[in-house]
Symmetry: C5
Subunit: 264 residues, 5 copies
Amino acid sequence: ANLKDEARHGFPYFRENSNAVEYGLPFSTTSFAIALLLVFRTNESYRRWWDARRNLGRLCTAMRNIVRQGIAWFPPEQEALLQALQRWAIVLPHMMLFHVCEGHDMDSVLKSLLLPNELDWVKEQERPTFGVTACMTAIVQAACITNEQQQSMDLEIRGGLSEFGASDDILRQPLPVAYTRHTSRFLMIWLICLPVAIWQVYEWATPVISGAVAFFLLGIEHIGIMIEEPFSILPIDKIAGRLRADIEEMMENNQKCEGQISPP
Amino acid sequence: ANLKDEARHGFPYFRENSNAVEYGLPFSTTSFAIALLLVFRTNESYRRWWDARRNLGRLCTAMRNIVRQGIAWFPPEQEALLQALQRWAIVLPHMMLFHVCEGHDMDSVLKSLLLPNELDWVKEQERPTFGVTACMTAIVQAACITNEQQQSMDLEIRGGLSEFGASDDILRQPLPVAYTRHTSRFLMIWLICLPVAIWQVYEWATPVISGAVAFFLLGIEHIGIMIEEPFSILPIDKIAGRLRADIEEMMENNQKCEGQISPP
Amino acid sequence: ANLKDEARHGFPYFRENSNAVEYGLPFSTTSFAIALLLVFRTNESYRRWWDARRNLGRLCTAMRNIVRQGIAWFPPEQEALLQALQRWAIVLPHMMLFHVCEGHDMDSVLKSLLLPNELDWVKEQERPTFGVTACMTAIVQAACITNEQQQSMDLEIRGGLSEFGASDDILRQPLPVAYTRHTSRFLMIWLICLPVAIWQVYEWATPVISGAVAFFLLGIEHIGIMIEEPFSILPIDKIAGRLRADIEEMMENNQKCEGQISPP
Amino acid sequence: ANLKDEARHGFPYFRENSNAVEYGLPFSTTSFAIALLLVFRTNESYRRWWDARRNLGRLCTAMRNIVRQGIAWFPPEQEALLQALQRWAIVLPHMMLFHVCEGHDMDSVLKSLLLPNELDWVKEQERPTFGVTACMTAIVQAACITNEQQQSMDLEIRGGLSEFGASDDILRQPLPVAYTRHTSRFLMIWLICLPVAIWQVYEWATPVISGAVAFFLLGIEHIGIMIEEPFSILPIDKIAGRLRADIEEMMENNQKCEGQISPP
Amino acid sequence: ANLKDEARHGFPYFRENSNAVEYGLPFSTTSFAIALLLVFRTNESYRRWWDARRNLGRLCTAMRNIVRQGIAWFPPEQEALLQALQRWAIVLPHMMLFHVCEGHDMDSVLKSLLLPNELDWVKEQERPTFGVTACMTAIVQAACITNEQQQSMDLEIRGGLSEFGASDDILRQPLPVAYTRHTSRFLMIWLICLPVAIWQVYEWATPVISGAVAFFLLGIEHIGIMIEEPFSILPIDKIAGRLRADIEEMMENNQKCEGQISPP
């Protein structure tokens, strides 16, 4: 009977009267370690993703804000400076896009946003983000506004550079690779050994069940890996497009707002 | 006897001498993954909800503050400007309300808050939030206050725009959809398979117990989904209403406060 | 024998040869969900509690700071203004106390802190917090200090209002009620079903053990609920009292400090 | 046979054919609650500890910074003021030390840092922290620097007071005592009952194993309690000593730095 | 039969009819404590690592920003000051490198960055970070810029010192050593006892399985320890090199940017 049993179960080298729970012991005592590694990875990946999203959001807020200030503070005779400020404010989030997705076609996007000479100037730079912020700084410096207003607007440019730096940190510094590799390896070995433990109970259903468990656990790991590099999945172009629409409406409403204040 | 047992238990294809714990092995070894996904979702949904609430709270603080500053700093002859500032400060949180709940009737709410010409101007804008902040900036710019006071008040307007941007990020960027879908799918399959594992023990009580477990786990998932979009459940109108009452009392106490300082 | 066993165990409707572990399966597979809900609630309640505590602490820091600035910057001939500033700085945290604990007797506390006319003025306001900050703003506005000093002091008043707003958010916005209710319900049903699962093993010891488990789990839930409304358990009056002692000593040391600087 | 078994196992009142796993059921279903409470306590204690450490670090940064500013901005003829500023900047972190460890001997430490008249003045104060910051404020006020420089330096003094306030909050507000007590009680009862559950399996090895488990779990709790009051284990004196060395080197390099700028 | 069984299993002192699950009880009830300690350590180590990385990132942002401001604000005749500012801005992150990795060869790196007299001056200092920031402060002080611009640039220098201080805190303050030691000890004993529990089931496969579990758990602990001291694994030299390239391109684009503003 024992021999028949062994032949039937495929693992004749274990004690014949042990039951499935016994085989499962190393699984239940290591499952917490898998959980630990998957939780850790999932949480940190998500935090990176949301941090990157918030960086983009704060960059857009800084740009909306500098345009708001420019509209209110630049004197009417410096309309050209205001137009330039608005152009560069729209361009800055696109610079983030080109920075993080290297293959993007800069030309077609920027042609509709910048004057030809500005476009040429941007294109010949290796790190155009710094060129754009330098331009904005020079515009604010050239405008006839008070010292205090200048510093307030400079703070927004600083905000733009700072969010850009934070995004760059996320882009260039992956999670410690040891964690990523250890998690993958551990999960793989665990999943490969799983059928051994459940074979005695589920027999022909073993592949189905092992497959389902593997599908779900590997699914979690896969999402973690996908989300760890947030810039490849964030809709940066839509966010930049929305900012463009916002700023263009702000510029249009420019004169009308003045009318609201003076009469009453 | 074996045949009878198989017929009775409904799962005749499993080894007859295995017990319920054995069937439960894949359940207890995957329950941690369910826990992981539910915890992750619950925590992140709650964090979004509380972030959104705090954004609203900080927006109201910024508005209370700009009115406090206006009351103390605007010269008495610019009472009209102060009135306008107060009107727009009350309107800004309502703009958040209209922004996040598209179906809201803007007219009936704003009629009691704004002058007719202001209301017309707001209504013809696509993104009235920027119009409102532009108005506030123009008012602060028009007031006879020191440069430093102007920048302090501008900081509050900036705070308003910034909280608005943060809320907009939460509104437009859902949790990574892969997580949401993976959690739902996993939970569903897990709950469907549960009766198989407990059938041998609980027999006719199986549906009751499976139902209870499903009710509670799906309940947690449901709350997570509900709370993930915080603006649909936050009492934005009450918060905006409270801000209105606060600001109106601040305006009423205006003169009396002056009396407190001068005599002693 | 089977019949006798069934009669003895009180649950004759289950398969007679199943053991206690089998009955426990739904318990061990749902315990993670209970843990999830209790952890979630405990953590968020604690975070609310500590946030509220820190808000109070930061409010006190802002008040200590504005008094420090007033002492150093107000000219000697404006001693009366400094006295008023100090009075209001002591009163502001008490306003938080009256705001969160509605039943508190404002009169007896404020009588020793404010002048009679100030007390009358405060008492006739519905939201005295805004009155107090308006007074402080007016005092800073009336003092002969530089524009930059004025803005630094205004920042502290802003800090006071901002911490007040954050506390108000915690006070008025409970945890999503769905979570609270779901946790209580789930825990209750789980605890009621527990004796069924352990009856076969512990027999007469079942009530003792079930009671102990219930006592501890309900204890955790109770602490979570208690701490969720932090203002009812935080020693606001002691904190406000300590601030009063701090500020009064700062005022006393006023002249002596001047002596420290000039001679050497 | 049953009677013999009962006698041998020492717990004759349980059903004779139950096995050790059955006795373990209440243990495995409550272990998550223990984990929950220990995790909660450990995390919050650690967070308090690190917060306290960072407060100290930020206080030192503020002091280093105000000395850096004083060196660059104070005119050469106000060397005496700069010396006094440096003295007080070194003393402030020591004040934190005296505040949190009441038994410390203030005299011996401060004698080498302050002038005799300053030391006398500090010693007669009940809350010398406020005296020190008041002195620094008066020094900055007395120096011939621009208004903007004055505000920058005042911000550092404010930072000092603010970190002091945050540390005081940690010092005076323990974790909610209900949590601490509940965790201890629960853990104790759990550990006392553990031998009952494992007796049948390990027999004479039971005390050894129970002892090991108790040692480790109580060890975790003990570390949590130790770390909950961070100021008793943080090396405040070393941190203050390091700050002293830093500031003294900054003062020495004072003249040399000037030489670096002018020639090239 | 019993004797034979005992001889075969190697642990003849346990009850002969107990099964492997029973031996596993202390393991499954303490595995949560191991998980707790490993999770705690992993999370805190990672947080330290990411904090350190962000400190470096923010330091670079501050340096990029001060150079941007210098380029826009320093008058053309003070080109020499701007050059010096740029040199020191590039050097500051390298100072962090020398501070955290004591063995680094300062000479070879700094020779290409600084003038000979500057290099000599830096080398004779014990804490060159403070020397560098003092130099930058003196440069900003010497430049002909407005008071407000001076304070904006001073804020960036302050940012540099502050990030340096935060990194120093991480460098000098390890995780509470009690936690680290307790985790290692606990894990070791747990792993040594594991073979006892699984021997009966896996017989000759025991060493393989124990080894695999040990490899994975010790792997997690090892990564935690490695990452706890983030400065030994962060690519500080690459980050500093990138900053250098960024700043050098900003300086090159200097003149061209002016051309962008004036004509249109």
